[in-house]
Symmetry: C2
Subunit: 347 residues, 2 copies
């Protein structure tokens, strides 16, 4: 089957570019001397996670428990969930999962830690635990090294939890003091810090500089070794994801309508929307729910109804999360159709 | 089962409010003297479509062929797809669907019309056809009454197509002359215009004023009879959709983190994100992919980890399109769990 035979809009992936992105990040982290733990929320596809492990990653990262359930079901054995897991339903699911794979979770409060410990003890399971530090991102995380120490003192006494270390996101130079002081306080208490986890694609070197032992990178699968900041960073040699659309209307000169809109690209105004591989000079300038509005005035090409165009979406991870399937291609031929198995697993 | 037993984030729907929205729009269109054809892209759930038909709608509308396939499979017999259907794969699907239900499509070009006619003739199927007029929205549609006449002259001669009339979107006062002149030209040619289709929730009265016979409304199921323009329009008596989240972190005074982010709410900066039913004074001020960042500084309540909060999402249709299930509730009890059967059907 050829890409040209796929019904549109189709989300496809250039496997050569994907594989190069995986290979280059693995080599980069190896050279830096930091362990790589890919964040699979960016793709949600078990086979890509296995490829990441085969390229040298030490395990994977999932943002939600539901994603981790999908990955364990696909045979993956070492998963970090850097998320506070709360609520009876989720704690029971965590306990079941922890009996099948080595699960590490992050916590930033005694309430969360006690909830996990009680459920896991009741169910005869164990998890490794990291303390999340808020080193400036103002999301989750304890606010000071002293708070980290207070929480660590609780954690090491709770049943069913194996204290493993600390984590932060994103990795930033300002975090160095916070991390070092936390480690100093914990070691003074006799609590060893085996893992120091940093995160954020493009921040691997900073992670190493601030003392992290491992790094969580996600979007490098779609964006290469640095983050895409805008349309100018989208390039087919770097970004393997494409949305193949059909032209459904050529209503007036300089303007065409394609069959992909917000429910295909996941883009909202006022951001730009993507990059056309065949005609980089054209621009998606607006989006309806199911239509893309394209300005073709800069192009000499005469666009026809039924013609197919490939766009690199700007919001790659959010785009893929809308779709049930990703088609892997090489040189215009379909090589694999992957279910986006963890799509929508927000629980 | 109670709403409080659902794992979070859960997307739920207050069935009393939903039913009132359906009832009120049906009565309003009846009083106006315009036929109602609900746009099911807003919910993608066959049973809600059946409820809309039971409340007096003449048929439904689907934006993509894939949505229509789901609705026909659920027993719905009259569907308008106001979309140019192009490409071999889709034309074959359209032909198959048109043998099972009364399908109307919109076209704005001879290429699209010829593609449909050829495939349907080959497959022994027929569809009704509307010409889409661009009355100012600058999306699809012919640009003038003369263009509409030229296309109509082609359509009435093509096999397997039953010319049915004209459509525009959204309905606006400026469209009146365009519609009237088109009808005059077509009738002078002896081409009867049976259907004049307008669209847009809140624009029903304008549709009637510009001469439409039927109206496509979608978002009224979630927003009532006028569109939600911003957070100030979100109210639990009007908006039945809720995202139930858990507080996963209370890292610092005046700030909590909930377990729903962009992959749950479908919201992007810089728009506001939703309305908290229990504590309207608090505000989601930022979103990560899987976290919501909530400013609680205006509230006296002391939020706890594990506490559950219900938010009306700002982008209701886009939010629901991320989720596989919608839970219908009444007075805090679960009454139905609906698969969002046409979710992700962008083809």
């Amino acid at each position: 089957m050829l890409v040209d035979d796929l019904d549109t809009p189709a989300v496809i992936c250039d496997l050569d570019v994907l594989e190069r992105n995986l290979r280059e990040m693995a080599a980069y982290c190896r050279d830096l001397g930091i362990l790589l733990r890919p964040h699979t929320k960016s793709h949600k596809i078990p086979e890509i996670a296995h490829w990441q492990l085969a390229s040298g990653a030490i395990g994977i990262c999932c943002q939600k428990l539901g994603e981790a359930e999908v990955m364990v079901a696909a045979g993956i054995r070492d998963i970090l969930i850097p998320y506070n897991i709360v609520g009876k339903a989720k704690l029971e699911r965590l306990a079941r999962l922890a009996r099948r794979a080595a699960i590490t979770v992050a916590v930033d409060s005694e309430e969360t830690a006690r909830g996990i410990a009680e459920q896991l003890q009741a169910d005869g399971a164990r998890v490794r635990v990291l303390i999340e530090l808020d080193t400036g991102a103002r999301r989750c995380g304890v606010q000071s090294p002293e708070e980290a120490r207070a929480l660590a003192r609780v954690l090491v006494r709770l049943p069913s939890l194996d204290f493993q270390g600390i984590m932060t996101y994103p990795s930033r130079p300002e975090a160095k003091t916070f991390l070092e002081e936390t480690i100093r306080l914990l070691e003074a208490d006799g609590i060893p810090v085996a893992t120091i986890s940093g995160g954020g694609t493009g921040l691997e070197e900073i992670s190493r500089e601030i003392g992290c032992t491992e790094h969580r990178s996600g979007s490098y699968v779609w964006e290469g070794r640095s983050r895409v900041r805008g349309r100018e960073d989208l390039h087919p040699d770097r970004c393997p994801l494409r949305v193949v659309c059909s032209v459904v209307s050529t209503p007036a000169p300089g303007r065409i309508i394609i069959d992909g809109g917000m429910k295909t690209f996941a883009s909202y105004p006022p951001v730009p929307y993507g990059y056309c591989v065949e005609y980089p000079e054209i621009q998606i300038y607006a989006m309806s729910v199911e239509h893309g509005h394209v300005d073709t005035s800069a192009s000499d090409h005469r666009f026809r109804v039924g013609e197919r165009l490939s766009f690199i979406p700007l919001h790659q991870e959010m785009c893929l999360n809308l779709h049930d399937e990703l088609v892997g291609v090489r040189s215009g031929k379909v090589e694999v159709t992957w279910p986006v198995a963890a799509r929508g697993k927000v629980k």
